[in-house]
């Protein structure tokens, strides 16, 4: 059942998918590790909709239900000062596949000034250490988003320039040692070239460096804006699947 349409000014009503999470749960379900929609209105638990509560996150400082996501669901505000969702758990570390995987996150900057504030801001960040990490967010360069898979110190990174949007946007990254490919996506479409030459990942996920909305529990490099639907799979989703994950938010 789809959500009620909302009419925004002049034009045809737009229909939002208020059960978007079910669409994502059906996306290669056997390989879904975790899905954190961040649609809570109260409490510090960031529920893992994949179902294993051992992989729930823990909010620090976020303002829940601060605005509505594309689907009409609550979305939390990360204040750019000291907020984050710590998604690390022993179970997540067990299930995480450092050689084959997909990570997605929906991001929205608080205002256009965030794109030019010369501050690194992470949407989703997972590391064993500085030489072995995955991140999606923005760089300190004006109007740049960046996504990276770094393993064994080999950094495969895509920079997306010209970002000025103040609307929600989706970043996704896939990695595959078997195919020797890292692919970045913006709004469901591949961005940049397929990157080759993956290094060898070493180390378990860092309890202080596996987060939505920041790089560390210090915290550092905090997102300034809204974040929704962080997801993690143990396989590189296809381009069609990534596009589907994006498009269903509007369905």
């Amino acid at each position: 059942m789809h959500g009620v349409g909302l009419q925004l000014g002049i034009g045809a009503p737009m229909v939002f998918n208020s059960e978007y999470y079910q669409d994502l749960l059906r996306l290669d379900r056997p390989n879904l590790i975790a899905l954190w929609p961040q649609t809570e209105s109260v409490g510090t638990a960031a529920l893992n909709f994949e179902g294993n509560t051992l992989k729930n996150g823990i909010y620090t400082g976020v303002t829940l239900d601060n605005a509505k996501f594309l689907t009409g669901e609550p979305t939390p505000l990360f204040d750019g000062v000291n907020d984050f969702n710590n998604i690390h758990s022993a179970q997540l570390n067990t299930d995480f596949n450092n050689a084959e995987g997909t990570a997605i996150i929906w991001l929205q900057v608080f205002n256009v000034g965030v794109w030019t504030d010369a501050t690194v801001r992470r949407g989703l960040y997972m590391q064993a250490d500085a030489s072995n990490r995955i991140f999606l967010g923005r760089s300190s360069n004006a109007n740049d988003a960046n996504l990276a898979y770094r393993a064994g110190g080999v950094n495969l990174q895509t920079t997306i320039s010209g970002m000025t949007t103040t609307d929600p946007f989706m970043l996704a990254i896939t990695w595959s040692v078997a195919n020797d490919e890292v692919i970045a996506y913006l709004d469901g479409q591949q961005s940049g070239a397929i990157l080759n030459g993956l290094g060898v990942w070493a180390g378990a996920l860092d309890a202080a460096g596996t987060l939505i909305g920041a790089q560390s529990t210090g915290p550092t490099f905090i997102w300034n804006g809204w974040l929704s639907y962080g997801g993690l799979w143990s396989t590189p989703l296809s381009a069609n699947a990534i596009e589907h994950a994006y498009a269903r938010a509007f369905a």
Partner: protein
């Protein structure tokens, strides 16, 4: 009275033990529970460990000048009345606390206690951007 906002504590000359006592005491402020994580006390420590930004829904009695003097008095084992303070004018409430003519800490209420939460947050974010090398690691 409650106030949800951001405060900054900067250590100017406390030793490690004194600093820890003060910071640990400030960490206990704010509500013991709240449906909103933003209202629960949480903090961010400067890279050199000599400053902390706190955010919570504070009881303003606990972050008043006298409250801070009481904490410093306990830390130094002295009458809080022997702690002096000087207010630095500006868009934030900035107060330097001194003892024996030595500045010990600087305490900032971002946006003052009259600021709304988002206004205090804007001041805190502006402060971080202006002091980014002290608060953010290199990438």
């Amino acid at each position: 009275m409650s106030w949800h906002g951001y405060i900054l504590l900067e250590n100017l000359s406390l030793n490690n033990t004194q600093r820890s006592l003060l910071v640990d005491g400030l960490k206990t402020l704010g509500p013991s529970s709240s449906p909103q994580p933003a209202e629960l006390n949480h903090w961010r420590i400067r890279l050199d460990n000599d400053a902390v930004i706190f955010e919570a829904k504070f009881n303003t009695n606990n972050i008043s000048i006298s409250a801070i003097k009481n904490r410093l008095g306990n830390i130094f084992g002295i009458d809080p009345g022997d702690i002096n303070h000087a207010t630095i004018p500006g868009d934030d409430t900035v107060i330097a606390f001194s003892y024996l003519a030595i500045d010990r800490i600087r305490f900032t209420v971002f946006g003052t206690l009259s600021a709304l939460w988002n206004e205090s947050g804007d001041r805190a974010r502006g402060y971080l951007l202006a002091n980014i090398t002290e608060w953010e690691i290199s990438t």
